[in-house]
């Protein structure tokens, strides 16, 4: 079954300027998808269309078995949690605690249980010391952590992350990634859509969609996308670091092409040294 199914979707902010231009794709339940593409290619616009924040000019969006329309929009919003590119656009309440709770309140969760969930997720993103602070008075990375907690706490079926960790330090990025991996282990049907400029991050997903000028110029499974690195490079993307190392080694006649990740590579390399 598909969690997301998009057909011939088009969106224009202004007459005749297509921010999303006739795109189609299907995302099976439980996928971990990355959306990559240059600045202005349409990634955030697509995210907002999926959540019904923007209404397409033409085309169809289906979330599980629901077609996105006026009648279904509420039900669909309950299934999708989206972390926006600018966390400030997400904050509604005057304390971190209320803010994480806000989405939960709309979902009729028992208030004792709610308190528990809020504290649990604040802890998970390392912000439990800041529960009484005003979200707008946090550092950039702290804001992103709170925005993420607020969305993860909702226990949605689909999570969309729009450059949600762009201002975290690398360790913080990894912590959030681990948190999501763990949530996915607990709930394998969780579907994740991650918009990112970090190729190392995209490398960890199992399906990749590449946008350019509002069009999908390439999409495919991890293997298909990363098997043609020259093409990726031509499209303006970097090569993941450990693959660069493999390529360099190959230039010197050492073939490590069967290594799937950095630890694997280090292991095999050490056997040679």
């Amino acid at each position: 079954m598909n969690a997301i199914s998009v057909k011939n979707l088009t969106y224009e902010y202004e007459e005749n300027i297509k921010a999303i231009d006739n795109i189609s794709f299907d995302i099976p339940v439980g996928s971990f998808v990355s959306i990559i593409g240059k600045n202005g290619s349409g990634k955030s616009t697509l995210a907002k269309l999926l959540d019904g924040l923007l209404i397409a000019k033409s085309g169809e969006i289906k979330i599980f078995d629901l077609i996105l329309n006026n009648k279904n929009i509420k039900a669909i919003r309950n299934k999708i949690g989206i972390v926006f590119q600018n966390p400030d656009n997400q904050f509604i309440s005057t304390t971190v605690e209320d803010d994480i709770a806000f989405g939960l309140e709309n979902r009729n969760i028992d208030s004792n249980k709610m308190q528990e969930i809020v504290i649990d997720f604040a802890k998970k993103v390392n912000m439990d010391k800041y529960l009484n602070k005003e979200p707008s008075n946090l550092s950039g990375g702290q804001k992103q952590r709170v925005a993420i907690a607020g969305v993860l706490a909702l226990n949605c079926d689909i999570i969309i992350l729009d450059e949600a960790t762009s201002m975290l330090d690398p360790k913080g990025k990894e912590e959030i990634r681990q948190l999501i991996v763990k949530m996915k282990q607990e709930n394998p049907s969780l579907t994740i859509l991650s918009i990112t400029h970090d190729i190392e991050e995209a490398y960890l997903s199992d399906y990749i969609i590449i946008l350019e000028n509002g069009k999908i110029i390439k999409q495919g499974k991890h293997k298909d996308i990363f098997s043609n690195l020259d093409e990726l490079k031509k499209l303006g993307f970097e090569t993941p670091f450990f693959i660069t190392v493999k390529q360099e080694l190959l230039k010197h006649g050492y073939d490590f092409s069967d290594c799937e990740n950095i630890n694997d590579l280090v292991e095999k390399l050490c056997q040679l040294m």
């Binding site: 600045n39 550092s139 990375g141 702290q142 400029h197 390399l269």
Partner: protein
């Protein structure tokens, strides 16, 4: 223009229930024409530090000195802030808050106009700055609020380029930029550095810091806890392993954990790393 910061303390919402100690005695000196980075964990105080450099924040105590401009908690002394801003341009972490005019070109021209450059010339400077951050003419008349995240950041960066300050301070300039955009902006900064400007970055991208900066300050809980050349800082951190390090040094660390000790001190880039690895294999 040298920068001197002495025993800088900053408290947000002093004497209120929201009281938050952000800086607890920060000292540094940045000479003219340096390319410097402030790095450190989320909430460590980096943005708070750099917002002092153009008087956006005023020290709770201590002193910030940029050339002859002195900022202290004594408000009467701080009257030349607007002059200071001609010399120190700051791009915030969230560029949104820096954009306010109706069109992109007016937004970027605002700075030069504010510093008494004529309207025509200000627009000319704005156009040049926009082109240099990769935004072509089609963006000039658009609203800065109706742009993508990366495009907004580019406009904000163009906004300080147009002022032509002596010191450029950028808080996470490459967050949200695509990889070509990153390269573009960084080589632009490098060019300005070659042109005798001082560049100060806050960044979480350690590869970038390693490649471009000549001095690094590590901030932790409102204090500077380590400083030096990128290599000194990253290699000494490497042993402790709590701060994130550039990928080349991370690779060395993984090898070391397996008992392969490379000569990390002579590794500055990927080529150095590869040469050492190949040499070791051949031996």
């Amino acid at each position: 223009m040298p920068i001197d910061v002495k025993d800088l303390h900053y408290i947000y919402f002093k004497k209120t229930p929201f009281h938050a100690d952000a800086l607890n005695g920060v000292n540094f000196h940045i000479d003219n024409n340096k390319f410097v980075a402030f790095i450190g964990a989320t909430g460590s105080g980096k943005s708070t530090i750099i917002q002092h450099l153009n008087g956006l924040l005023i020290p709770t105590s201590g002193e910030v000195k940029v050339d002859d401009f002195i900022l202290t908690s004594n408000k009467r002394k701080n009257k030349s802030i607007s002059k200071l801003r001609k010399h120190v341009g700051v791009v915030f972490q969230f560029p949104e808050y820096q954009l306010f005019e109706e069109t992109v070109e007016d937004d970027v021209a605002f700075g030069p106009k504010n510093f008494k450059v004529g309207k025509e010339e200000a627009l000319l400077k704005a156009h040049q700055a926009l082109l240099s951050v990769g935004l072509d003419e089609s963006y000039f008349k658009r609203s800065p609020f109706e742009l993508s995240g990366g495009e907004k950041r580019r406009v904000a960066i163009a906004g300080i380029l147009a002022i032509e300050p002596d010191i450029l301070v950028l808080d996470e300039p490459t967050a949200g930029l695509d990889s070509r955009g990153c390269e573009y902006i960084m080589s632009l900064l490098k060019k300005m550095h070659d042109d005798n400007k001082t560049i100060i970055l806050v960044s979480h991208d350690m590869d970038l810091v390693n490649k471009y900066c000549d001095y690094v300050y590590v901030v932790d809980e409102g204090k500077i806890v380590n400083q030096g050349s990128p290599k000194d800082v990253f290699v000494s951190q490497d042993l402790k392993g709590d701060l994130e390090i550039p990928k080349i040094y991370y690779f060395c660390r993984l090898l070391k954990e397996k008992g392969i000790d490379l000569d990390i001190n002579s590794i500055n880039n990927l080529d150095d790393l590869m040469n050492q690895i190949i040499e070791r294999i051949k031996k």
